[in-house]
Symmetry: C2
């Protein structure tokens, strides 16, 4: 696209656990820093958003489009698309469909955003299942796992699609040339796996991608490959397990500190170091990840997204638009 043209990003301002405060704070931050390149459209209850905007002394190119309904974390992802047609999610995605905006971001109900994005934007021709990837920290490089929950029951063909879309994303967004692709399984050898991976292995071998072979659970964290594919059931479980690791470490630190006053003082002294070392485990830091395979840019973030995470999601959305990731998927998937 024209590099001088502003990218307009719709922010679901009612989405996250701290909406609309963090959403608006993130939007204001983005406008201040990159006002020349960005236009922000907030969807949500107009009155609430107006009040919050003035409270936070908003400046920059921020517009509100009213959406009378709010999707909660309790809403069923599949039902809510129809039961709340005027939700901030539906209204936001409609703006993309009508070409009134370039991208959509939300820290709201992940399942609802995925379902609505797929239904409203449609799939790119040739894509059987959309996929959402997540970044895992390693000591060497960023590793992305596709899929982490968009498509729970997969056929071998879908894993190949994830590998193609993930490869494009890593090449163009992270600048990783010809990223290596691993197939998540229970052993390195080709013979190890389940029914799904045996067939997926064959497809990936012939795909023309930089296929490494099988990788194991531990390889998600050791940076053996750039990109790992698995069905969304397995991927979602390891993603949430990884989130649980940070919570457990924090709990362990707390109980250690609670044991004695000496421990408490000592933990106070070392906690800055621990925080620096464990920062990579904090999933909020990464901002959002795009739902790939839908015909438009839809970025999904963590419910607990901070203003900084929201800002990062907006920047990610801009980048995915400017680099035309959707167009590249359209080209590659039908080769």
């Amino acid at each position: 696209m024209d590099t001088n043209k502003k990218v307009s990003v719709v922010v679901d301002a009612m989405g996250g656990d701290f909406a609309p405060v963090n959403e608006i704070a993130g939007a204001i931050m983005a406008c201040k820093e990159k006002g020349d390149a960005l236009k922000i459209i907030l969807t949500g209850k107009e009155e609430i958003l107006k009040k919050e905007l003035s409270k936070q002394n908003a400046a920059g190119d921020i517009e509100i489009v009213n959406a009378g309904e709010v999707v909660t974390m309790e809403d069923s992802p599949t039902d809510v698309y129809k039961s709340k047609p005027n939700s901030s999610i539906n209204v936001g995605l409609a703006l993309l469909k009508e070409k009134k905006a370039d991208a959509f971001i939300s820290a709201g109900n992940t399942g609802a955003v995925m379902a609505a994005s797929t239904l409203k934007l449609g799939r790119i021709k040739g894509v059987g299942r959309p996929t959402i990837g997540s970044i895992f920290p390693t000591d060497k490089r960023k590793v992305m796992v596709f899929d982490v929950g968009a498509s729970v029951d997969c056929k071998p063909m879908h894993l190949k699609e994830f590998a193609i879309m993930g490869t494009i994303y890593m090449e163009h967004i992270f600048g990783v040339k010809n990223p290596s692709v691993g197939l998540l399984s229970v052993g390195e050898e080709k013979e190890k796996g389940n029914e799904l991976t045996f067939e997926a292995y064959e497809l990936l071998e012939k795909s023309g991608l930089n296929f490494f072979g099988n990788v194991e659970g531990r390889d998600v964290l050791n940076g053996k490959v750039d990109l790992i594919v698995c069905d969304g059931f397995v991927g979602n479980i390891i993603l949430k397990f990884a989130e649980g690791v940070l919570d457990l470490l924090k709990a362990k630190f707390r109980s250690y500190a609670d044991k004695s006053f000496g421990n408490k003082l000592w933990m106070g002294m070392i906690q800055g170091t621990l925080r620096a070392i464990l920062k990579d485990f904090d999933y909020q830091e990464y901002g959002g990840v795009p739902l790939l395979g839908v015909d438009g840019v839809s970025i999904i973030g963590h419910g607990k997204s901070s203003p900084l995470a929201i800002r990062n999601m907006i920047y990610r959305a801009e980048e995915v638009v400017r680099k035309d990731v959707c167009g590249k998927i359209r080209e590659e998937i039908n080769k």
Copy 2:
């Protein structure tokens, strides 16, 4: 069994990465501490074992049964049962089959030990698939996940069997009364999951077990339930992922220390604290876990098992024998 009778435990002395040194050290430790209750039989190359026993000044009730072949980590689990009939694994399990010993432990090739145990000992009548569980650390209690790799492709019925066998194990070995059972899935609601979990949910609901419902990846580490069931593909991936967490943390600590001399000194000061806090993540500490559902006691340990881990495996084996876990599974599984 008669509490005065010695339990005889066969130790695969050629199994682990540090065999036979750690195996023999662990066996000697166990004999010194509990010589009245235990008899140890080592299987492996007689000459090598004799030499190592005298080098380590062995004492106590330790016998050697010669086994001319050694299974390596490279051997295919299914092939090696036939291709190396005189392996330390096969010879050891034969002693159980012939009632010359009560239990078998090995830190060797996990797949080979599982396959040989199933083939040599047979399954308990009514068990479709044997299962191996793993303990995960939480801040509240020990959580066990079944299956972590014995049965990769599972039917809903098999997950129910894992829940029954796991319940018996937790009740009798860990003393957890009526342990709560969670079904690993991608959401807490009954409607969230894949084809396998939908059906397994129905079976578990009607099982008479203390079924909690679905749990997510993060719940493995937060102690929401005592026992979590999943197929061996998913379980193996999260187990190895968890092992990867400790490796990554160690790597992070190292790179932090390498940044400056000051950091290095500081990490030196705090590493004792970190080690104490992270101890629970170290899978070697737990010793082994039994393969449940086979008609005999077979305990499998980590390849890198220390002498202490080997000793703990021997004690675990003794406990599983004395509490007649196999007999209890036989009773419950056919109800």
